[in-house]
């Protein structure tokens, strides 16, 4: 940083003086360089930066670079994404699930979407609902002022036939016997599911045979497999209905009663009640 008009002075004098007084002026010069390059600095400000930059090894190249960058940066906004990009975007947006809709529908859907995003929607809906109920039912001029009394009397008459009331009555009638009866029924179902296992195997085996026969396009094997599946289904039906033991569902009452003698008193009162 020297000034050519004072070439007789020692080369480093200015730098040393600045270092011991104001410090390097480059920081302040840098702040003004963009305005200098843009031509916004006038008068003394312009001259000071100009003279500093001519002599400063750091700020001079910066001005050159800033000038060049002014021309080089704007074209960087137009970088090609490659061939076919526009067509690709056009195809993607053509497949879009939200094509442009007529104006009225768009506005309505937008309004609906914005309404759903309101943070206090639930509070507002509750408030609105309360106002509507007050206007319809509770206000002195409400058109449905008789409604609460009507609803209350309806529930009074229905109360003795309500579901909780019926469940309570069932419990009072059946007691422990009811629990035992349900337990026996569960055991019997499990036993019959076990008994149906061979028939289920038959059904499964013939199902796979049918698939293979269809793949091989073999009508004879397909027919045999279908017959086998029919046998399997029939076997399952017989096992589940008790016919495999030579009994059907009509005999279950005896089976049940024999296994749970204590449940016999249960049936009569329940049947009577039902």
């Amino acid at each position: 940083m020297s000034d050519e008009r004072h070439s007789d002075a020692p080369r480093d004098l200015l730098r040393d003086v600045l270092a011991n007084t104001s410090g390097s002026p480059c920081t302040q010069a840098e702040e003004r360089l963009p305005a200098f390059v843009d031509g916004e600095l006038l008068g003394m400000d312009h001259q000071l930066v100009h003279r500093h930059a001519r002599a400063c090894q750091d700020c001079g190249p910066l001005i050159v670079a800033l000038n060049r960058l002014q021309e080089a940066l704007p074209p960087l906004a137009d970088l090609s994404p490659g061939p076919g990009f526009a067509a690709h975007v056009y195809a993607a947006t053509s497949r879009s699930q939200t094509p442009l809709r007529p104006r009225g529908i768009r506005d309505f859907l937008q309004g609906l979407g914005q309404l759903r995003r309101r943070p206090r929607l639930h509070l507002e809906a509750g408030y609105l609902g309360a106002v509507v109920i007050w206007l319809l039912v509770l206000a002195p001029f409400a058109p449905m002022r008789e409604l609460p009394g009507t609803v209350a009397s309806f529930f009074d008459t229905q109360e003795q036939h309500s579901l909780p009331r019926q469940a309570e009555q069932v419990w009072q009638v059946t007691g422990e016997a009811g629990i035992e009866s349900v337990r026996n029924l569960t055991d019997r179902i499990e036993r019959r599911v076990e008994q149906s296992a061979p028939a289920r195997d038959t059904l499964d085996r013939n199902y796979h045979s049918l698939r293979e026969a269809v793949q091989d396009q073999d009508p004879q094997r397909s027919g045999e497999a279908l017959n086998g599946m029919g046998d399997g289904l029939e076997g399952i039906w017989q096992a589940m209905t008790g016919q495999a033991d030579g009994r059907d569902d009509n005999d279950d009452s005896e089976d049940n009663d024999a296994e749970a003698g204590s449940s016999r008193p249960l049936r009569t009162p329940l049947n009577e009640w039902l």
Partner: protein, 186 residues
């Protein structure tokens, strides 16, 4: 009514040709924006496509007069979202992407484009050494040419801050370029 405004109006009424033209007009700018944010050509191309798809869906929501700043705002938001996701996942490559990155322009003259290619590479590398804030300022102000008011609105900053940050960013970029190539611009 400007040509862009007319194109937007036609797009909103369902004119597919107008939409194709709008994409064609803005594809380079959006790709450039994405490339300078993401610094990866594949990610940038993918994101540019996403930006246009989102713009297509949001076109009804566009209420302003200036389409370009709105488009840039949508693009910037998508870039920032993508950057956040990229930072949350491990890098897919080990190589330094800034070196040897291909930056093709829309210039019609291949010879001139080849000459300018080295300079684009240099600037791209120099920008990579800037802080995020300065790089974004160079991108929005100097490259995309957005007005200071629009940038202030986009970044939610006072206009004075944007102005001083923009000037500082230019100096920092110049320093970075000169550091890589001391003879730059001579």
């Amino acid at each position: 009514m400007s040509e862009t405004a007319e194109l937007v109006r036609r797009c909103r009424s369902g004119d597919a040709l107008a939409w194709e033209e709008l994409v064609r007009q803005y594809q380079s700018r959006i790709y450039s924006l994405a490339l300078h944010y993401l610094r990866d050509p594949d990610e940038a191309r993918d994101l540019a496509q996403e930006v246009f798809i989102q713009v297509y869906r949001k076109l009804d929501a566009f209420r302003g007069d200036e389409f370009t700043p709105w488009l840039m705002r949508v693009g910037r938001n998508q870039c920032i979202d993508r950057l956040r996701r990229i930072k949350a996942r491990p890098p897919a490559r080990d190589v330094e992407l800034d070196d040897g990155i291909d930056l093709p322009s829309d210039a019609m003259d291949p010879h001139a484009d080849a000459q300018a290619g080295e300079e684009r590479q240099l600037i791209h590398r120099a920008m990579g050494r800037l802080s995020d804030a300065y790089r974004e300022m160079i991108l929005l102000k100097e490259i995309q040419g957005l007005p200071l008011q629009e940038i202030a609105k986009m970044l939610d900053l006072p206009i004075g801050t944007v102005k001083s940050r923009s000037a500082r960013a230019r100096v920092e970029l110049a320093k970075s370029v000169v550091k890589i190539d001391p003879g730059y611009g001579v």
